[in-house]
């Protein structure tokens, strides 16, 4: 691998022990992926470790088994080095994914780290693990990490531009960076992002390279889909359908309703990158900066008749059915009891927070049901400033930052919880995970907020309409008023 003068100096130890240590590790990886050079990074998105004094102590190890995603011990040698500092002085902005508590509310109840559900049980974060996380967080701050604890710093903290390189362990962020911003990131290993934060550079490979960003097929959105997507879960389902059709290949997406895609809609759409597909890149025609034409999306290698797939409303409703069948919630259709309603994986954008506030305003969450809205730090404070947080809290819901429910020791939650969400990632990644008997409902915020208020999940009339067989659906148009006059039912 060819290194620049500065990179070679780091490897030689001229810029301190930590940079040398991290360059050694990244060079090993670079050889394994046959990289020829390194790129400078503008953004590193990694994770905060649990900094534990005695990680080998059997009692501590037992707790770490439940709380540590696995990255914490990677930091030990770096934290032991006196001169360690991230590469912020050379322009690399570094921060981490959410973890398991909002630091200033660790003892407050009704949150993912501390709650009780009558009849089901309770959960409270372990104090030793909390202290360990706080110690890791403080140490990271000392080293120059920004404490954003968020999935989407690309929206409001460090916004990468076309041509820049990033290293994001958060898949949805990597996909947004590639797809919407035109900068370049792999779905990076948190092992590598730990080291890359200190070096500010990493091997150029994978999605950094033009040849690995090329579209291989076309996915076309049916007009009926384009004109009728309404809810955040619709966008997640659409992303999942696009990924399914392309079978883990990068695709060019045609016919998106570009003018109707809010920040939240776009984020939910591209969040299909994990777990729907491996390469964090979609060419959304009309949006993706490097793809003004199909030819450009295929990087000049478009075959005469590229494989072409279509996503229809039937695909979307089938995706809803599939996601609701992975760990199906018990109870009668139209009245499935829910315990937790959660919005914000990846972290909710301001428009998602405002939608929940709008839906829940003046209503009350049913006692015993938890309504959770998780977001990033800037959005959390914006929501407080603009009044949305108060509306959610007045209704009995919770809004919090720095945290993700799934980064809590979810397997140690009370058994038999039913969790309802608008997050494709949550359902796809967590079905089967969690305490015994945990079940999942996938739905739009309208139905989710109703479920939080009523304590039971009932699909909306809109779902009843769209989930019918197509002929029946079209026939019903002549005798029944439309569910909603704001958009054409059939284009």
């Amino acid at each position: 691998m060819k290194l620049t003068k500065f990179q070679q100096e780091m490897l030689d130890g001229k810029h301190g022990e930590a940079k040398k240590f991290c360059m050694d590790k990244l060079t090993d990886f670079g050889e394994a992926v046959e990289a020829k050079e390194m790129v400078d990074l503008s953004l590193v998105l990694c994770g905060c470790p649990i900094y534990s004094k005695n990680p080998r102590d059997p009692k501590t190890l037992e707790k770490l088994n439940a709380y540590d995603i696995g990255h914490s011990r990677l930091y030990d040698p770096i934290f032991a080095m006196k001169d360690a500092h991230v590469a912020d002085e050379t322009g690399t902005v570094c921060g981490g994914d959410p973890y398991f508590v909002q630091f200033d509310k660790v003892n407050e109840t009704g949150y993912p780290w501390n709650f009780e559900i009558p009849g089901k049980g309770s959960f409270k974060v372990d104090n030793e693990m909390f202290q360990g996380l706080k110690a890791g967080y403080d140490k990271q701050m000392e080293h120059g990490w920004l404490p954003w604890s968020s999935c989407n710093p690309y929206l409001n903290t460090r916004i990468p531009k076309m041509g820049e390189y990033c290293a994001s362990s958060e898949s949805s962020a990597a996909c947004y960076i590639n797809t919407v911003l035109g900068a370049r990131s792999n779905r990076e290993s948190p092992v590598n992002t730990t080291y890359a934060a200190y070096t500010g550079c990493m091997p150029k490979y994978g999605t950094h390279l033009d040849e690995n960003r090329a579209a291989k097929c076309i996915v076309e959105i049916d007009d009926e889909v384009r004109d009728n997507l309404k809810g955040m879960a619709d966008w997640g389902a659409l992303g999942a359908c696009i990924a399914n059709k392309a079978e883990n290949r990068i695709m060019a997406v045609l016919n998106l309703p570009i003018t109707k895609m809010s920040a939240g809609a776009t984020k939910n759409l591209i969040s299909c990158a994990s777990p729907g597909m491996n390469d964090p890149m979609l060419h959304l025609m009309g949006i993706t900066p490097e793809s003004p034409t199909l030819e450009a999306a295929f990087k000049g290698k478009m075959p005469k008749n590229p494989e072409r797939f279509k996503v229809t409303m039937e695909d979307i409703t089938e995706m809803y059915r599939y996601l609701n069948s992975l760990a199906p919630a018990p109870g009668p259709d139209g009245a499935k009891p829910v315990d937790v309603v959660i919005i914000g994986c990846p972290h909710a954008t301001l428009d998602e927070v405002r939608e929940v506030a709008r839906l829940v305003k003046g209503r009350k969450v049913k006692p015993g049901v938890l309504l959770w809205v998780q977001t990033d730090t800037p959005t959390y404070f914006m929501a407080h400033h603009y009044g949305d947080a108060k509306i959610i809290e007045d209704a009995g819901g919770k809004i919090y930052h720095q945290t993700c429910m799934a980064f809590n020791p979810f397997r140690h939650y009370p058994k038999n919880l039913t969790v309802a969400t608008s997050s494709f990632k949550y359902v796809k990644l967590c079905a089967g995970f969690g305490a015994e008997g945990t079940t999942w409902i996938y739905a739009n915020p309208v139905a989710l907020v109703d479920a939080a208020v009523n304590g039971v999940f009932k699909p909306t009339a809109r779902w009843d309409y769209w989930s019918q067989p197509k002929e029946k659906r079209l026939a019903s148009e002549s005798v029944q008023p439309l569910y909603d006059g704001s958009l054409p039912m059939v284009s």
Binding site: D28, F29, E31, A32, V33, E34, G47, P55, L61, E62, L64, N65, A66, D68, I69, G70, H71, R73, L74, S169, E170, S171, N186, R187, E188, S189, P190, V191, N192, Y205, G206, N248, S274, P275, N278, L326, A327, A406, F410, R411, L429, C430, A431, G432, F433
Partner: protein
């Protein structure tokens, strides 16, 4: 890892595959083959017990501990890299090695951190050639270079 090679392999038909080492090392153990994309993240394979948690996956409820795990390529979270590292190095419920059709880069970095061999791009499809329960020996001296995978069929 050299120690494990002294275990006597069961008698049976032998097949040798040649692939590319992505993480160096030697290992020997029983194969656990997944027909579908697979991921190491804590939500798929428990960090605390190495058990397959994901509904609908092959070997659901079984542990990966001490196995040579064979799968087409990754699915799911990038945290697979660190969860693999954790299972091998911390909780000790990890695999001995991994073999993929095409290994995804973050699994490479997890295997390097865990100091277990990882091999891909074999000259025969590992998913159909290797059967669960076969005895597999891996010799992968250097990342980016040739690696051999010796399969001894499980006695019927």
């Amino acid at each position: 890892m050299a120690q494990t090679l002294t275990v006597e392999a069961p008698k049976g038909e032998k097949v040798v595959l040649t692939g590319i080492a992505r993480s160096k090392g030697k290992a020997a153990g029983e194969a656990m083959v997944f027909s579908h994309r697979f991921g190491w993240a804590f939500n798929h394979v428990g960090n605390e017990d190495g058990k397959i948690l994901t509904a609908g996956w092959d070997h659901h409820g079984e542990s990966v501990e001490g196995k040579i795990v064979v799968y087409p390529t990754v699915t799911g979270s990038t945290s697979g890299a660190i969860s693999l590292y954790y299972k091998v190095k911390q909780s000790k419920h990890g695999p001995k090695a991994i073999i993929c059709r095409e290994i995804f880069p973050f699994d490479i970095s997890g295997a390097i951190a865990a100091e277990i061999p990882a091999v891909d791009k074999c000259d025969q499809d590992p998913i159909t050639t290797i059967k669960t329960g076969d005895w597999v020996e891996i010799d992968a001296p250097k990342a980016g270079q040739k690696a051999t995978v010796t399969i001894t069929r499980k006695a019927e």
